[in-house]
Amino acid sequence: MFDLAFNDLNEILAMDGHGVYVWSVYSIAISIIVASFLIAKNRIRGVKRKIKIKNAPS
């Protein structure tokens, strides 16, 4: 069950001609998920900054 299904890196990338489909799907999905995390973290930072500015003593 834990034997590598491929012999070398070229086979992993090519996946018998299906590599372009498999790797493009995973790359795009990972990029979208990572971007979502970054956007959410930035939003929290932005909201906190706005609230701090609003509450700062003038």
Partner: protein
């Protein structure tokens, strides 16, 4: 956990006898469409809580979950389309499962658009909840579409009640990917709801004290 599931599925699971290596998209596609439906179901429960008991937090959770639902539905549709090219010879087919999932994606976008269309946020919360409850009728349609109609899309390979038609060497990484994506989306949901609640409640004393 998601990374473990994907590495196991992509590199260690055996090649499929019929589909070759293109089937490895399953470790992304199946978890994505499962959560596309589950997130909507969660939103429908929140919408009921908001409409019946006027729970404000429930509306905030719907608004925070909707973009994540749209994102994961898009990933599900996109991965399915790409998988269709080597498997079916086409990237799109207007069959019941694919079309009802597209409707789910449009529902998510509609909910977000509707909520952004009103300056009165309480009113938009209520209308958004009504739309979510109406749209939940699509979830059993997606689930049962492969049984009710003759579709190009294959029937479910795993079910909560009735076991699985997949070999364990492929099933285990799939289950790990499903659980892993669940944790990933919960983390994203917590971050998303945190920023939304802080933004909505910014004038409240507790938010000033928290920040």
């Amino acid at each position: 956990m998601l990374i473990v599931g994907w590495i196991w599925g992509l590199l260690f699971a055996p090649q499929d006898a019929v589909q070759g290596n293109s089937y490895r998209i399953i470790f992304l596609h199946v978890p994505a469409v499962i959560y596309a439906e589950l997130i909507y179901f969660f939103m429908a429960l929140c919408a009921l809580m908001h409409l019946v008991w006027r729970v404000k937090l429930a509306a905030y959770l719907i608004k925070s979950a909707a973009p994540i639902g749209a994102m994961i539905t898009f990933i599900g549709l996109f991965s399915g389309s790409v998988w269709g090219i080597p498997t079916w010879g086409t990237w799109w087919q207007w069959d019941a499962r694919i079309t009802s999932t597209l409707i789910l994606f449009i529902m998510y976008l509609g909910i977000l658009t509707l909520h952004g269309s009103f300056s009165n946020l309480e009113k938009s919360d209520r209308l958004m909840s009504i739309l979510v409850v109406i749209g939940v009728v699509n979830i059993p349609i997606i689930k049962k579409s492969v049984d009710w109609w003759s579709t190009l899309h294959q029937p479910a390979s795993i079910s909560v009640s009735g076991g699985s038609s997949i070999d364990p060497s492929m099933l285990y990484p799939l289950l790990i990917s499903i659980i892993g994506l669940g944790f990933t989306l919960i983390s994203l949901g917590i971050l998303s709801s945190r920023s939304y609640i802080l933004g909505r409640e910014k004038n409240k004393k507790w938010v000033s004290e928290y920040v």
